[in-house]
Symmetry: C2
Subunit: 308 residues, 2 copies
Amino acid sequence: MTSRFEDHLSALADAVEARLAVVLADAAGPGESRRPDRLTAAMRHAVLGGGKRLRPFLVAATAELHGGGDGDPLAVAAAVECLHCYSLVHDDLPSMDDDDLRRGRPTVHRAFDEATAILAGDGLQTLAFDLLADPATHPDAAVRIALVADLAKASGPGGMVGGQMLDLSAEGRFGDGRPAALGDGEIRRLQAMKTGALIRAACTMGARVAGAGPAEVARMARYGDIVGLAFQLADDLLDVTGDAATVGKATAKDAAAGKGTLVSLNGIAAVRAELDALVAEAGTVLAPYGARAETLIAAARFVADRER
Amino acid sequence: MTSRFEDHLSALADAVEARLAVVLADAAGPGESRRPDRLTAAMRHAVLGGGKRLRPFLVAATAELHGGGDGDPLAVAAAVECLHCYSLVHDDLPSMDDDDLRRGRPTVHRAFDEATAILAGDGLQTLAFDLLADPATHPDAAVRIALVADLAKASGPGGMVGGQMLDLSAEGRFGDGRPAALGDGEIRRLQAMKTGALIRAACTMGARVAGAGPAEVARMARYGDIVGLAFQLADDLLDVTGDAATVGKATAKDAAAGKGTLVSLNGIAAVRAELDALVAEAGTVLAPYGARAETLIAAARFVADRER
């Protein structure tokens, strides 16, 4: 039996899937040539047909909390998901994590080939910014450019891409080949960059497209940081306690890579306690919104408690 | 002896180099964490210390033609060059063109490793959009978002990335492994996407950052299409007539890859005649600007006649 929150998440995932299918159609948009079939097929493989769509959900829910406006939250949600999926395609590459399986299906470089996977990822990143620049996303250019800035900061060298670099370094991929023994602070910094930054951006971008002001955007950034950390802690727990069939991707990878996580460093019990504290903190941050924040509080709880 | 145009090009290249060195510093910008040293080093290797900086020159020259305004053309030039350099890093990868040499130096994946090269390219793409979103680039959000849209359309699946996909397909990389015998129109479409689109965007973006209106932007798009085609024709000629030491990268690659070009299809003489016609056409398109367009006409001639 699914919870009311999971029904909500699933309904949004369907709406995002439909929008992504349109965004990833093979027709040429204005100002561009027709996209090559193979590239379109690879991008569609990377994006369509799977995933909880957590980041799009956060965009939609933070937009709803701030009440509508003239923007199109689903376009922003699609852009964030394209960016996220690009990062998955590249992280899965043979020279990176060398994964064969993603969301229970072959990774893009396995279903196609390595060059196509690199280009599909590249194109998905571009498409994300293209979507945000579209006047249909929000009539106000100032809002659109703020969305671009949020996404670029979150996903660039000082964000997601930098976090992946730190992650590979920590595995001992460069230098003497031995995994680094990262401390608590170093692991948190790595994870805040690699996964936290984009989750935070999903929350601030949802607020922005709904016309939220700076104070509300800052509050959504704090909420996003909490959810991002909870997401990573739960992911690290799953890597230890989950099985591949349920999770939909390989597990016990961190231990195999000799990678330190907050679970291996602090223990399962401490991490579970931190997750409880994070859910409570989310409630505090969202308190000014009263009952309207129910969905976002449920989202934080879902992320902390998720089993796959 | 260099021409007056080449002195101009060289002076702009120095200014762009200085700006890129600042953009690619290791300090954290606002809203981001500190960039990992290895990633910064790889991005700097990819971007600094070489290249004619043709695209940045086109940004600066088209901006100058439209007369100043409150924008910072050098920031736009740096963004376009970051985007261009990302494409070179990824195109050079073992699974793509597998090049060891670029601008007379080891390619990023040779100087570092494949994973680092992929991430450096990814980060350079993000950085390009980040730069365009910065209020220091232009105070008007509408101008900044138009710059983002131009760059995204030019470099995405319906532009540069799509062109690289078509190029790999034409080499017979997928399917039966035999190179495709592309016709004149197919080669032009491929090249317009792979190299032409970004050159056109450099021209429209320079006009936009200087406050040009839609008619002027459209005229710069036409000029950019001419320069882009001339650039590719000259490049194809060099691949046949140049030597690696002068050109700074491997030559005779097209023939080795069994790749059809307009040179192999139409012959050297016909391509040289087309280049002359393109230079004349550039003069016609720029005629409304009178003597002020001298630099851009010289740029078209330089691109058509270049020997490396």
